[in-house]
Amino acid sequence: MSDFTSTFWDYYVGVIAALSILGCAVFLKLQSKRRVKTSAGDNPDTTGHAWDGIQEFHNPMPRWWIGLFYLSIVFAVVYLALYPGLGSQYKGALNWSSVGQFKAEMAAADAQYQPLFDSFLKRDLAQVAADPKGRLIGERIFLNNCAQCHGSDAHGSRGFPNLTDEEWMWGGTPEAIETTITDGREGVMPPLADALGGAETVIDVAHYVLSLSGSAHDSVRAVRGQPKFALCAACHGPEGKGGTTVGAPDLTNKIWLYGGSVATIVETITHGRHGVMPTHKGVLTPAEIHLVAAYVYSLSHGSGAAPVASATQP
């Protein structure tokens, strides 16, 4: 900003504003009286103005009216003394700013709602999840912060996990969910085509992966792929049950993060995948994280199997 502005403009604005107010006062003073010249035969009740034979009556405004004008000048002077209106060099006696007002309002709102949030923070996450009020607040936070990726019904989307099912890549305990939201997660599946030994082997492994969940597959290829799976087992475990320490998905159920067709699994193995859950520390307060975690927890733990229908203002 400072590249384009100099303090000159502050003084420029300030001087023009001050002169305008002064000018208004002078103008008012000059315009409250008028010198009138009448000629013989004029009606003394007229102003002496005549257009096309129409004379203008002299109808003075009530005197308090001009008082209002002077009052507005007084208001302008007081206002400019209190608030920053004379260029940004003068901050005004009240030191008011829109940012300051915003912060004050936010602080007031925090002071009002903090006790409520704190009361939820003190309670066990499973308890909050069982409380309809807690779930309702959590759902609001979810819709504003999480629904963009996980969907407003929390069923996720391609690349974004479904939060309502039983599979948890990073763990489904209250603590794990809170950690995931607070610190974020980064799940990396490396490209493994070369390590596995070429495109054909990748297809074999893909069929073996499909066989783990009892999905339709080519059993010949699956048998061929089985020994190669040892490489994958480092993260997904020897049985393909996955692991929550590195966020490796369970391959033995029919829940697929990127898709469960042969083509998609081949693509996943060949090119790898990289999923990111961003950190929400600083974005949400600990109490908000607690509430939204409780809501997410409730989606797969009985009390709130379906999202709570929330009453809202139009």
Binding site: K37, A40, P62, G151, D153, A311
Partner: protein, 472 residues
């Protein structure tokens, strides 16, 4: 028209602002109250019964007329209007404006003279003034006196009464926006909330200032309607007129008027004394005239006493006066292009708005597609889309609604197919739709969602949306 004596040429400094001259309108009460003044008092009673009484009516266990700004719901008897219904408010305002136009074209400043709050409250405040300080002559004498305990007492009593009416008006006004019983209880317990308190004082002060102090100045210097209604006037508009042909030359004295060459005007000045804007109607139509007809009543009473026919000052049109029309001829001119256009527009709008209100479905549905995900595969052969339904039950009882989706083969609702919404409540419902992949080629497809009350099949809203197929 009288012309003041012409002055010799001179030069002087003229003030463009002058102290307002106090007006002391002479009251016409009791037997002296004429036909039109009775009408004016009738409209005072009618409008104020409606205004002051309105908030105290109840309907369905709530205040009958309540404009709940906080909850953004307007309750008008059986009707609950939501922000989405703002078109009805617009329609009502247009109807109000058009009726103003129509009445003005036909009857001149009827609104100003009889129904405008400024007129009505000035009338009430002048009545209080008269009860406390006495009529015109007494008030003028009182104002000329130096301050004395008696004068101070009278003035204090008057202002106290005015302020009381003002505050009551303020409380009533706020009672249209916050339940009036609650406002009343809060005021009684001095526990009034800041904003309610501010508006009670604001509206109370406006009433006190406008009706007590400013009076005719509001009409003369402030009111925009007073200034632009002359454009609705024409030569067939009813105005308060003085029949100069009959009245002039004016002169006092009852005896031998014809012999002395006098007209019917006995120059009693009553018409000026009763005028709330202090004009002499005998000078012709003036912008100050609010059409209150006080001078008509005043003059008629004098004519009766003098044994002359009534109607020297009367409601007439410029044309009728000039052409000596009979009343029948004058009324025939009510129907003219201007009034027919105003009337036709007004009638059409009233019918349209009435029909729209009757056919209004007390249910609103907004379909919002999830922006994060377009389509997601469920398994090998099904695809799913997610929506949020904003469902507003604008009726005042709870309903259970069912959702149906159509437009694609095999399209089904996977989330809860029915849900409950409380009275005058809005809910957001997550909605999952599923369809076989074979029925949904890549791209977007128009679908139709139908929300219907299970207990009231007529209560149904259909909304269009789209369903996305999976990309290749």
């Amino acid at each position: 028209m009288t012309t003041p004596a012409a002055a010799p040429p001179h030069e002087y400094v003229e003030a463009l602002y002058a102290k307002r001259k106090e007006i002391y309108p002479r009251a016409q009460v009791g037997d002296r109250m004429g036909f039109f003044q009775r009408w004016r008092w009738a409209t005072v009673w009618l409008t104020q019964l409606v205004f002051y009484g309105g908030p105290w009516l109840t309907w369905n266990g709530r205040q009958a007329v309540l404009f709940d700004l906080g909850a953004r719901k307007f309750y008008i008897f059986g009707l609950v209007l939501w922000p989405q219904d703002v078109i009805y408010l617009t329609g009502m305002l247009v109807i109000a404006a058009l009726s103003l136009f129509l009445f003005t074209a036909v009857g001149g400043r009827l609104w100003c003279g009889y129904a405008c709050p400024q007129t009505v409250y000035t009338e009430i405040f002048m009545w209080i003034e008269r009860r406390i300080e006495g009529d015109r002559a007494k008030r003028m004498a009182l104002d000329r006196q130096p301050m004395s305990p008696r004068k101070f007492g009278l003035k204090a009593a008057k202002h106290a009464a005015w302020i009381a009416v003002g505050l009551w008006t303020g409380i009533t006004f706020v009672g249209y926006f916050t339940p009036v019983r609650q406002v009343g209880a809060d005021v009684a317990g001095f526990g009034i909330a800041n904003w309610e308190g501010f508006w009670i004082l604001f509206y109370g002060f406006a009433t006190y200032g406008n009706a007590g102090w400013l009076r005719e100045q509001v009409c003369l210097y402030m009111c925009p309607y007073a200034r632009f209604q002359s454009s609705m006037f024409d030569r067939d508009t009813l105005i308060v007129t003085y029949d100069g042909e009959r009245g002039e030359p004016r002169g006092t004295g009852g005896r031998d008027r014809a012999g002395r060459g006098l007209g019917d005007c006995v120059d009693c000045n009553i018409c000026v004394q009763v005028c709330p804007t202090d004009i002499d109607i005998r000078n012709g139509l003036q912008y100050q005239c609010i059409g209150c007809a006080a001078c008509i009543d005043g003059c008629n009473a004098v004519m009766d006493k003098a044994g002359l026919p009534r109607g020297l000052i009367r409601y007439a049109t410029t044309n009728a006066l000039q052409r000596h029309d009979t009343p029948r001829q004058m009324w025939a001119h009510v129907l003219r292009p201007r009034t027919m256009i105003y009337g036709g527009l007004l009638g059409a709008l009233v019918v349209a708005l009435g029909t729209a209100l009757v056919l209004r479905v007390p249910l609103k549905v907004d379909v919002i597609r999830d922006r994060g995900s377009l389509a997601r595969p469920i398994d090998e052969d099904r695809v799913e889309n997610v929506y949020r339904l904003q469902v507003m039950n604008t009726a005042e009882r709870r309903h259970v609604y069912a959702i149906r989706a159509s437009g694609l083969d095999g399209l089904v609702v996977d989330s809860a197919a029915s849900f409950e919404v409380g009275p005058a409540t809005s809910v957001q419902i997550p909605l999952r739709l599923r369809a076989p992949q074979s029925a949904v080629p890549p791209g977007s497809h128009r679908i139709l969602l139908e929300v219907q009350a299970q207990d009231e099949p007529g209560l149904v809203v259909r909304e269009k949306s789209v369903f996305f197929g999976l990309r290749e």
